[in-house]
Structure formats: C-alpha cells, structure tokens
C-alpha cells in the first residue's frame, strides 16, 4: 500500500514539479526576453520564492499538527526567528554602506547611540554562523518550550493557547528598541548576500532555486520521518495518546522531537524568506500570521505533506490576487475559507480528492473482509 512507501507517485510528481520550478523559473526569468509569453517577471520570482518558503513552513506545521496532533499557533515565531537570524547576517553585510556609514554597527544601533555591537550580534557576519543560528535558535526555543509543555502534559487547546501567547510575547519583545533587533522597523535595506547584490535578478533567481531545492529536501525529510516507525508512533500519539503511553512509549519525548524538528524547518523557511522579501520585522510574530499558516495546512489537507505545501501555495496565491484586485474582500475570503474548510472539507483538498478516488476501493473492502471473517469464525 502506498502509505508505506517512502515515495509514492504523488510525492514523486511533487518533487518533480518543485525541482522543475527550481530550474525553469530562474531560466525563464534570466534567459527569455521580457516580452516572451513564458517570461517570468522580476516581480514574480521573489513572489513565487516567498510561496515556496511558506510551503516549507506549512510542511513544518503539518508535521506537528497533521501527524502529531499538536496544533501550534506559534509556528510563525520559529519562522520569524529564522528570518531574524538571516536578517542579522544581511545587516552586517551592509557594512559601511549604511546611512551613518558605521562599518560595524547597523544604522539603527548608531541611531540609538549604541557604542558597540551587543554580544548576540557577534558571529553574524559569517554566513555559516547565521545559517546555523537560523536552525538552532528556533530549535532551542521549541525544545525548551516543549520540554516543559509536553512533560506536564499540556495538550489540545491549552497548548494552542500558550503557543499563541509565546509568539505574542516574542512580538512584544521584538517591538522593543532595546532588544537590539531594530524595534518597530525590524531589519531591512539589505545590500548583499554572500557578496552578491540582493537586488540583482541573478541573485533573486538563485535564491528562488535554493528555496525550491530546500523545499524538496524538506519534503524528503518529512516524508522519511512520517513513513518511519517513529512516524507511526507519532500518529498513534495523535489518535490515542494514553494508549501509546500504556504501551510504553514516552509520549513527551516523541512530541518534543517532532516539535523541535518542525521548528528548525520553520526557521530555515524564515531564513530563505527574508532575503527574498527584503525585510523582517516584529509583525512576523503576530499571532494572526501563525493562525494563517494553520489554514494553509487545513485547506490543503492536514496529515498529507503534499496537501500542506499545496495549501500554502493556493492560499497565498489567492491572497496576492485578492489583495490586488479586491482588497476589501480578502478578509471575508480568508475568514470564509477558515469556516468552509473546517465545516465542509475537514480533510482539506488533498484529503477530499483522495477520498473521492478511494470511494470504490474502500466500499469493496469491508464487504470482502467480513466474508472472510464469517467464513473463518465457525471453523475455529
């Protein structure tokens, strides 16, 4: 059965599409003339790249919610932390090209009359360090948070509420100027990444390709996790937590592992997002963002990795279209999407399609099985 295979047909198609995008979108943007029908515009490349980063966030969220039953309303925080780590690297790359021309201090610190770089900014001039922090900081936060929460068995809605409170607290903290992350304005006006101008079409194309590859790798990683025996335990935790405990699994450790892994993935997604949109500010921590990410997963179909990624793409494309054409109606549409998805297609688009395709096969199964059972039981 397909559920056991590491890669099924749908998964292969997904990987194929993502990797094809990784090649074709940059190629079309850089090689085709702007008037060509197949040309992907300079505007569209980072936009699509943003969707891909969101799709990664959706994968991360689906891992904890769809498979482990932990509805995190704070995944935006991990995403934003990863983004800030990358933003700090990009800030330090500005060097003396800032408005105040200080070779070490970012502009906002000069503005605040700071004399030297705070300790937590050290090392961020190195790309590898920033990249590592984009993974480790969200991971560490998730680990600490989960360590306490899962150990004391906070579950369900309670957990959702405190994850929301967590990202809210972080938002308030990052709004403060003396936190040293640029306060209200966040980090922006980036110049270079690894020596390449962030504005250059070539850099943007490369960032897009990198994001697409990262999405493909994340998919493979998630797929590997959910098809492993650990994946089965995690689903068991989702459906019958105390049963899993009584079988001898220490549920909190499993949740902790999945939650931390998921936060790290979200951090990577955030780190890829920031250079493409050119800014990271505290509003990325807003609780509403995290909930919006949940609806991507719900729309696409939770518990199916494909659905999560697809949902992120669909909802965000819808958002771009609506906010461009009918800005006043976007919140109605988004709100309606929340209501309609939960009421009408609780399994999401992918789940609903699978059900439709599986109807015939399923209706045959129980009948066949019960015949077998009936034939067997008198004999025994």
């Amino acid at each position: 059965m397909s559920r056991y295979r590491f890669l099924d047909a749908a998964g292969l198609i997904f990987l194929g599409v993502v990797l094809a995008m990784a090649v074709l979108v940059p190629a079309s943007n850089l090689l085709l003339p702007p008037d060509s029908a197949l040309h992907v515009s300079d505007y569209l490349v980072p936009l699509l790249g943003k969707y891909l980063a969101f799709a990664m966030l959706a994968l991360a969220l689906d891992l904890v919610w769809g498979y482990c039953g932990i509805l995190s309303l704070g995944h935006g925080a991990f995403f934003a932390l990863g983004g800030y780590a990358m933003g700090m690297y990009l800030m330090r790359q500005i060097g003396p090209r800032g408005v105040y021309g200080n070779p070490v201090l970012p502009d906002f610190m000069v503005f605040l009359n700071w004399q030297e770089l705070p300790w937590f900014w050290l090392g961020f001039d190195q790309f590898w360090f920033a990249a590592l922090m984009a993974i480790l900081v969200p991971g560490a936060l998730a680990f600490c948070f989960g360590w306490f929460a899962f150990r004391s068995r906070v579950t369900g809605v309670y957990l959702s509420i405190i994850t929301q409170a967590m990202t809210f607290a972080l938002m308030l903290a990052f709004f403060r100027n003396d936190m040293g992350f640029g306060g209200n304005n966040g980090l922006t006006d980036f110049k270079e990444i690894l020596g390449f101008s962030v504005q250059a079409p070539e850099t943007r194309a490369a960032l897009f390709a990198a994001t697409a590859v990262a999405l493909a790798l994340s998919y493979l990683l998630c797929r590997w996790v959910v098809t492993s025996k650990l994946g089965k335990v995690v689903v068991a935790v989702r459906d019958a937590e105390s049963r899993t405990r009584f079988i001898g699994y220490r549920v909190e450790n499993y949740k902790l592992l999945v939650f931390t892994l998921s936060a790290m993935l979200a951090g990577v997604a955030g780190a890829l997002y920031v250079p493409q949109v050119g800014i990271i500010n505290p509003s990325e921590f807003a609780p509403a963002n995290s909930i919006e990410a949940v609806i991507w997963v719900a729309v696409g179909g939770r518990g199916t990795l494909l659905g999560a990624a697809l949902g992120a793409f669909l909802v965000n494309a819808g958002k771009t279209w609506f906010t461009g054409v009918l800005p006043d109606l976007w919140l109605f549409a988004l709100g309606g999407l929340f209501v309609a998805t939960t009421l009408l297609i609780p399994k999401g688009v992918v789940g609903a399609v699978t059900d439709l395709l599986g109807v015939r096969r399923k209706s045959e199964l129980p009948a066949a099985q019960s015949i077998v059972a009936a034939a067997k039981s008198p004999a025994e």
């Binding site: 689903v235 019958a240 450790n253 099985q369 059972a373």
Partner: protein, 252 residues
C-alpha cells in the same frame, strides 16, 4: 524483600492504597496481592474503584497513600505509564482503544517489545524475527486475514482481540484486562475466556468483569470490591454466597 513490615514474593502487591478525588474516596485502603502466573477476576458494582485501581497500577493516578509494588522491587507509585509498561504491565481498556488510523499489522508492530526511545525508533527497520512475532500474534488473535485493514474498520469484538494481541506483543508479566467481554457475542465471549486462560498459563492476568457467566468460565479466584476496598475474596461460589456481596452487588 520487606514491605510494610512483611515479606512478599507476590508479582503485584497493593497495600492500603487510598485515592481521593475532591473529597470522594475512589479507593479506600485497598490491599491486593497477585501471584506469578495467577489469573484473578475482579468484580464489584459501579464506582467500587475497579478502574481507579488499574489507574494506580499503571501509573495514571498517584495514590494519596499506600504502596503499590511490582516484582517486590519496583515502586509503581513513583513511575510513569511508560516506565511501568516497560516493566511488564500491560493494560486493556474497557472500551477497545486501538490505533484506528493504522493497519492491524502496524498496531501489533507498535506494541512489540523493542527499544522505545525516539531515535532508535526513528532509525529502526522491521527485522525478520519481528515479522515472525507479528505473524504469530495475528494468528493467535485470529486477525491474520485482516492484517492490512485499518484497525478502525474492525468490528467491536475484533478490536477487543486486537487489543489483547497488542498486549501480548508487549510480552508483559502482568495483564490488566478491563471488561474484555463487553459488547461481544456469546461465542466471542467464550473464545475470549479460552484465550485468557491460555495466556494465564505463563503470565499473571487481572480481569475486571461484570459478566458473571464469563467470570464463571474463567474459573479463577475472585475479588469483590466495594467502595474502594476489598469486600470479599475467594472462589466465585464463596464470594457470590457472601451476604454483603449479595446485598451490594449481586442482588437477592
């Protein structure tokens, strides 16, 4: 080992266990001792404390006072559910709880006695001996033909049996079985009694049951609980002729 001033070699030993919920005494000085390879039936009216007793043994509920000792050396009141399960105590719930989104086979696989830590589990691959164990267990609980079905699609009786199969996969020393015959046909009930008797040859089994026919089928020592403590203990005939038992439980 010396416990509470007495020596015991029982597999499970509860002494003077009390549990209070908001002033309500669910267990009131309950004492119970189960020997190796013994099967015991527990009867008693609703609210007698049968489920709470199981909760205490499996680490779900912490007693306010009293001792719960396993194999004369493990203090169950200090361990969590997972640790107790790994010691060798398996539990079957009153309403069958299996992993409905997993196949029958996977249900057994998850219950197999293996390393329970996340990372070993993440990297584990099913070995041939494991496959043999699964085959044998499925055969034993008569679900071989259903191995690829989702557990959620099974009938009530089949779920009960799958759960017993999962219990056996854990290779426990003590099985706690809560109302295994509930919702079963007469034939299934009789089969279940056979299965439990067979299991009890090598392991200890505690069965909580209301169905007196089923208890009679088991033919084992019976303990009657009432208001959180032991009312009577002995053969079914002796217990069911006890005046107090008749009064509070069986009815005249």
């Amino acid at each position: 080992m010396v416990i509470g001033g007495r020596t015991t070699n029982a597999l499970l030993y509860l002494d003077n266990v009390s549990v209070t919920f908001d002033g309500f005494r669910a267990l009131n000085g309950l004492s119970l001792s189960i020997d190796h390879a013994e099967m015991r039936a527990i009867i008693g009216p609703n609210g007698a404390g049968k489920t709470t007793m199981m909760d205490v043994i499996t680490g779900k509920t912490r007693p306010n006072s009293g001792e719960a000792v396993f194999e004369a050396s493990h203090d169950l009141t200090r361990l969590d559910e997972a640790a107790i399960a790994e010691l060798g105590i398996g539990r079957k719930f009153q309403t069958p709880t299996v992993f409905e989104m997993h196949t029958v086979e996977d249900n057994i696989l998850l219950a197999l006695k293996t390393d329970r830590r996340p990372f070993p589990v993440l990297f584990s691959r099913r070995t041939p001996p494991e496959k043999e164990r699964i085959d044998a267990l499925l055969e034993r609980v008569r679900l071989t033909g259903h191995r690829h079905r989702l557990a959620g699609e099974l009938s009530h009786g089949q779920k009960q049996w799958l759960e017993i199969g999962m219990l056996l996969a854990q290779e426990p020393k003590l099985l706690l079985v809560d109302e295994p015959a509930a919702g079963m046909t007469d034939q299934e009930t009789a089969d279940t009694a056979d299965l439990l008797r067979e299991i009890a040859k090598t392991r200890s089994v505690v069965v909580v049951e209301h169905d007196m026919t089923f208890v009679r089928d088991l033919g084992v020592k019976v303990t009657c609980l009432h208001e959180g403590s032991v009312l009577a203990e002995g053969s079914l005939d002796a217990v069911s002729s006890n005046e107090r038992v008749i009064e509070v439980y069986l009815g005249r």
